[in-house]
Amino acid sequence: MISLGFISAGSIQAGGAGGFDPLLPGLILLLPLLGFALNGALALVSGRRSADRVRNSIPEEDHTAGSVPLTHSLPTWIGPGVLLGAFVLTAINFVRLLGVELTEPVIRSYWSWMPTGTLSVDAAIQLDQLSMIMMMVITGVGFLIHVFSVGYMKEDPGYPRYFAYLNLFVFFMLVLVAGANFPVMFVGWEGVGLCSYLLIGFWFQDREKADAGKKAFIVNRVGDFGLLMAMFLLFATFGTLDYGAIFAAAPDTLLYGGGIVTAITLFLLLGAVGKSAQIPLYVWLPDAMAGPTPVSALIHAATMVTAGVYLVARASVLFALAPVSAAAVATIGALTALFAATIALKQYDIKKVLAYSTVSQLGFMFMGVGVGAYAAGVFHLMTHAFFKALLFLGAGAVIHSMHHALHSTHKDWDAQDMRNMGGLRRFMPITWITMWAATLAIAGIWPFAGFFSKDEIIWYVGTAGAFSGLYVVLWGIALAAAVLTAFYMTRMMIMTFHGPNRTGEPESRHLHEAPLNMTIPLGILAVLSVFGGWINVPGSVRESFFGGFGVLPMSDWLDRWLAPVTQSADAVRASQLGAYADVAPVGGGHVVWGAIATVMALVVVIVTARYFLSQPIQPAHEDGEPDRGIGKVLYNKWYVDELYDAIIVRPLIGVSRWCWRVIDRVLIDGTVNAVGSVSKGVGWFGSLFQTGQVNTYAFILALSALAVLGAFIF
């Protein structure tokens, strides 16, 4: 009954669909869930078989040779298959939406989730421009990563389990972006956290990896707490938790810059900060690299970590109404962008570099949505999804290859340490090429995707200087972070692919390019990294450079596309703050700064490349750790983990122990036992009169008789 309704109809709630009739939107969500169910069942079957082997001390099955059992061959088709289905459906709907002017989101409500008292929360999804573009990214990039995973995880005994988790993740991610109210979004919000937990700790037999998963979950829960509080405040203020009702009522209900809206948005920000790994809750993301690399690509680069940005964009009206919170978003973003970039400078683990890079890029997105450039933030989210997924997948291919090479001679080197690599370009040309495309994109070099999105953010931060001096500072920080980005990315590429090979002669013979099902996703993502930015070229840039040539087909497309979603926020900002400056703080327009940025990034890339090519690099075991100065501090990530450990984790455990040993055992149980002891003591005192001698009893009897008689008389 319910499932049928889920797939087919639902009920259209909001009007103003404007002729947009979504095709089976529920099925987009249901397909990954179905994949999870099937793969999960297979995972349990194969898990039990593998458990039998463990019990009987038989080595794990080797699926590379011979016949592959059904539990390992089916997920290959189910996992990416459901994603392909979801992507196709999403694409169809996206194309349908392209043709219509949709001013109100289309809402499909399936059943009443929490109907009680004054609260009414429906299990409903909402299709609008923002959720559709997010779904496109999730299913599209997700599908590519699923395909890549087939090659990457093929040999793992937990193969079906892996796809089960991955499908479940996509389901929750879709719920997150498609939910039509805060609680449904929260289901996805925590659900992706759960999947992230399971996938980070996918190789749970490794204590560090399991720890990393746990850390991610707990830190994320801090953010979830913020989101919960925000929901409570919203409900207390608006009496509903539906997006539509809240955002429609917000400009009239809430006082601009008022305490309530500031509190709401700050709590939302806490949630966003947790999920999107910003200061001070970013610590889980680098550790999250313990998971399989495609997972890092999907969850910890392309989709889940951008949920915070999505949240701010979704609640843009609220943030527009709370300038303090918006400034906080931008400030946190800027600080994170710079801070994470500095750490990335000194990391040797290829995935760690990318992880800090992700944190840094998320900082950029926060800056964008913080200064009111919601479309720019989402734009960077999208391009970042392309090139960062590509970088991670490329890194995955490298690690895969390195692992094989090192494994062939049983060398116990770290397959992820860039100092052990070098010169891989010769062995893995496709990976090399595609990763360079992504690197140039992230570095912000024209005409790659990152140039348009990142520079648009920096531009908006700069022009927001019209509102407050704070943004001028942030603009400076953003520029610095951009420069650092170009530096550490080039450093990574050079150390990995250029220079002499450091794996060792016998090992290097086993280095190889990844198979087709891994390189094809790389290629597609590379294309997207190169051209993806063209959907939102600023009109002025397009006209000044290429207007006459028609090379760039679209201008400001994303801005216009997202306008219905952000229009009320834009209206609030426009009426309260006025217009953006339209010049950078130190002068110069769009075109000038675009040119400056490209040239600057290009210069940094070239200089860095020359520098690292000239530097001799030692393999990790000969190199050791940097032991003094800023290098050591950066290598150790500013000692933030240690700091948190000292001021939060240890005190908390200490207090917990104290509560248990002192309050619980001594105070409360002590009191309870004392009550018991007192009654025992009273009993003991009474027993003193029980001498066991008849005279005593007789005497007491007589005394009592006297007392009774006396009582009668007096």
Partner: protein, 556 residues
């Protein structure tokens, strides 16, 4: 379905059957051979569960507040009646009980090896008491059943428990008995006051409702009742009996204790404390104290749980934290809060029951409850690991599971009135992860470095049968709590209105309409009872009309 049930006259006998059939079952178990006792008990409990399912259809969400009511004179001179009935709240508590029992019994097949007949008959006796509590509409009857639950539980812990079972059993018994004795005093005082005010003696719920009491009296009675229920819940700082009892109790004992027995306390608050003492319950200081204690319980228990080396003790402390959510939900006195508290009760019953069952299964395999003795179990027992992960997630309230719905609503309801306290309580969401994940990790994940763990068996068919309904319900309630919420709503609304608006609303109507309700016609008329009462107690101002005193407002 409804037609079939009507044809059977289901509504007329079901509550009586659910209370007394376990007693018959007890006799049957005692008469069956020792090695068949568990099967007989399981079959009986399962049969009762199937029987009780009809309640779902019989209960009409749009019907009167209390349904399936019946009343027979018991001790006429004192106005004690054998009166049963249920509203939406009782409905789910009864269903939870009948559901938990067969699961707990099935889960104890391997755990209980000695004196099986005695054990299973005590389990069924426990069911008599619990269902009786939830179905009683007479305070005397309620008290009898309330105390009856102590006895079997005392023996279950004391005979089949762990090493310190005697200490734990005595502590459990004395702690709870102390509270309920004070409550007995309160009940008697209330009875006398009602007798003085209305002119007839009765322990019936409706007759005690609206007994005129001064605020001071209400506060004292509130304290007497609340202590009994706070110990049962248990509310910080009356919780220390719980970890001991849980650790020492055998698995099925723990399951029933966590799943149902703790609910008696919360149910008592809802059914009796709030309606009987509305002014005291809404008194700002009282509410503040209760909610603060609940919040302290949530945070404090989470902290203490996090550092427990013993898995069962850890889960026991999590019970305290969960029940903290129930208490804040109840005393927020909002519909959302109460509904949330009730869902937490149901969810906690299922998820914590499942946790205890899983820990029991681990104990059967390894004979240890130390968390650190495990590690890497997920590798050798994937099904057990899956069940534990889902259960743990439900326990810490991940959305999509039953735990979230409850905690969310409870916090939301609390936030409407006490934002700061709700803020503090919501940090429990973080601390829940802080206690649960390390346990899950240490047991399931990490290297499989112990030989004993490496040869551990995964779930057997019986164990799958035990856990799968629990896991299924966790997810089902998480996704589709609507039908439950709808059925509980009238009862919850009635309590809120009664407390909030000064003894009025649906509860008053229910009490007023009692005489005309179906099923009551052939039962002793109030006036007869009142004559008995007046002759015994010698006060006669009762004029034979049905009434509830309104002490907040004058009616005429």
């Amino acid at each position: 379905m409804t037609g079939l049930l009507d044809a059977m006259g289901y509504a007329d006998w079901i509550l009586h059957a659910l209370i007394w059939l376990p007693l018959v079952g007890m006799a049957v178990v005692l008469l069956s051979p020792e090695e068949r006792a568990k099967h007989v008990a399981f079959g009986w409990a399962l049969g009762l569960f199937v029987l009780s399912l009809g309640l779902w259809w019989v209960f009409d969400p749009d019907g009167p507040l209390f349904q399936l009511t019946s009343m027979t004179e018991w001790i006429g001179a004192w106005g004690v009646t054998y009166a049963l009935g249920m509203d939406g709240i009782s409905l789910f508590m009864i269903l939870l009980t009948t559901f938990t029992m067969p699961v707990a019994i099935l889960g104890s097949f391997n755990y209980i090896r000695e004196r099986q007949r005695a054990f299973y008959s005590l389990m069924l006796l426990l069911q008599v008491g619990i269902v009786g509590v939830f179905a009683s509409m007479d305070l005397f009857l309620f008290y009898v059943f309330f105390e009856l639950t102590l006895v079997p539980m005392y023996f279950i812990v004391g005979i089949w428990g762990g090493e310190r079972r005697i200490y734990a059993a005595v502590k459990f018994f004395l702690y709870t008995a102390l509270g309920s004795l004070l409550m007995l005093v309160g009940i008697l005082y209330l009875y006398w006051q009602s007798n003085l005010a209305f002119g007839f003696a009765s322990f019936h719920y409706f007759d005690l409702l609206g007994t005129p009491l001064t605020l001071t009296e209400q506060l004292w009675l509130f304290a007497a009742f609340a202590l009994a229920f706070a110990i049962k819940v248990p509310l910080f700082p009356f919780h220390t009996w719980l970890p001991d009892a849980h650790v020492e109790a055998p698995t099925p004992g723990s399951v029933v204790l966590a799943a149902v027995l703790l609910k008696l306390g919360a149910y008592g608050f809802l059914r009796f404390v709030l309606p009987f003492f509305p002014e005291a319950s809404a008194h700002p200081t009282v509410v503040l104290v209760m909610i603060t204690l609940g919040v302290i319980g949530i945070i404090y228990a989470a902290w203490v749980a996090a550092v427990q080396p013993d898995a069962k003790k850890l889960v026991a402390y999590t019970s305290v934290a969960h029940m903290g959510f129930v208490v804040i939900g109840i005393f927020a006195l909002t519909t959302n809060g109460l509904q949330g508290g009730l869902i937490v009760m149901i969810s906690h019953g299922i998820s914590t029951g499942a946790l205890f069952l899983i820990l029991g299964m681990l104990y059967e395999r390894r004979h240890t409850r130390e968390i650190n003795d495990f590690g890497g179990i997920a590798k050798v027992a994937p099904l057990l690991a899956t069940a534990l992960v889902i259960t743990a997630m439900a326990s810490i309230g991940v959305p999509g599971t039953s735990g979230f719905v409850g905690e969310f609503l409870a916090l939301l309801g609390t936030f409407e009135r006490y934002p700061m306290l709700a803020f503090l309580a919501a940090t429990g969401v973080i601390f829940a992860a802080y206690y649960m994940l390390p346990m899950v990790q240490t047991i399931l994940f990490n290297p499989l470095d112990r030989e004993e763990n490496r040869t551990m068996e995964d779930l057997s068919g019986r164990e799958i049968a035990v856990l799968s309904p629990l896991v299924g319900l966790m997810l089902l309630i998480g996704v589709l709590p609507g039908p439950i919420l709808e059925r509980m709503e009238p009862g919850v609304q009635a309590i809120i209105e009664w407390v909030d608006e000064g003894a009025s609303g649906a509860l008053l109507d229910a009490a007023r309409d009692r005489g005309t309700e179906p099923g009551l016609g052939e039962l002793p008329v109030r006036s007869e009872l009142s004559e008995l009462g007046t002759s015994a107690l010698g006060t006669s101002t009762y004029d034979g009309t049905r009434r509830i005193h309104l002490f907040f407002r004058d009616e005429g």
